[in-house]
Point group: C2
């Protein structure tokens, strides 16, 4: 219960992305819920050997470290902050603290799922990562630019920072989504 | 994708319950995420035959009808509004519209999970319902009263409107939580 009360704080971690109506920034709690729903809906886009139930669990947990570290937008600092050594070290310390609030076995199980997501090597993690990258694209499309406008993102940057990762987990989906981004990027 | 964009609106449906720090009302999107995490953490409280993965899916979907109907707080209208015939009819119409945005098979699968949750008869649904009832209790405990204060709830009303449902799915958990509510109700 200490862990579940602590998790409540993820609802106060704000992302750069807004809701589809642009009314306010999205928080990482509701973002995690939306991604779980993405996994359930887009199950038919997953590659062979993907367990949607494991992907859903992974996505429910994937941002908890942001309670300590905050969200690091993919396009911030010209794309250099996300995944930097400094951020990775802080996120590991956060995982120690937050998953450490759970009983040993459960904490280790959740920690392992989070590590798997971060490493993005297993089929489940590759699919989960592609959803984590594509959902903000859909939010940006809905509100006329969103973080692309905030950070002055180009079509090439979207492709290298986002498209490559989405296409790795869901190639057909990225073709479909990229086509829709042309109305914003004019390419 | 139309369904996933529409689902975004659940993040703007406000509940009577606040975040643990009392800073603002919780929305139904982040609430659904928190419940999925509750299911993963409290799996050892589930009765025999419960599939946590199905419970998680059920909880991810369970409040989508609120996009059209809004949240109906359990203690509002002296406990009479929640589950009223009028609300049930509106929620069914909302389910027709919202799950109708999905391809046929997927829409039917999600609709069936939502119906199962609402009926609260299967072991999975009974466990899911108990989590949906206990999470607001934990939020109220964290912020010193919350909706109990708003609606002037008594210990007896908490027991009949909430405790009975929680205990049905997780008897041991309710004993533990009820004990903690004594500090507020002074009983």
């Amino acid at each position: 219960m200490a862990f579940l009360d602590e998790a409540d704080r993820l609802k106060s971690v704000l992302r750069a992305t807004t809701l589809c109506d642009g009314s306010r920034p999205e928080n990482s709690g509701e973002h995690s819920w939306h991604l779980a729903l993405y996994a359930m809906v887009l199950a038919d886009q997953a590659g062979p050997g993907v367990s949607i139930d494991r992907v859903v669990r992974m996505l429910i947990l994937h941002d908890l470290v942001e309670i300590d570290v905050g969200d690091v937008p993919i396009h911030s600092a010209n794309g250099q902050a996300h995944g930097s050594a400094e951020v990775v070290a802080k996120e590991r310390a956060a995982a120690d603290r937050i998953f450490g609030l759970l009983p040993g076995d459960l904490g280790a199980e959740f920690r392992a799922l989070w590590e798997e997501f971060e490493a993005a090597e297993t089929p489940d993690a590759v699919f989960a990562k592609s959803l984590d990258r594509v959902q903000p694209v859909m939010q940006n499309l809905a509100c006329g630019g969103g973080t692309w406008r905030t950070y002055g993102v180009t079509a090439e940057q979207l492709e290298s920072r986002v498209g490559v990762k989405v296409a790795r987990g869901t190639p057909g989906l990225w073709d479909w989504v990229r086509e829709r981004t042309r109305s914003y990027f004019g390419s």
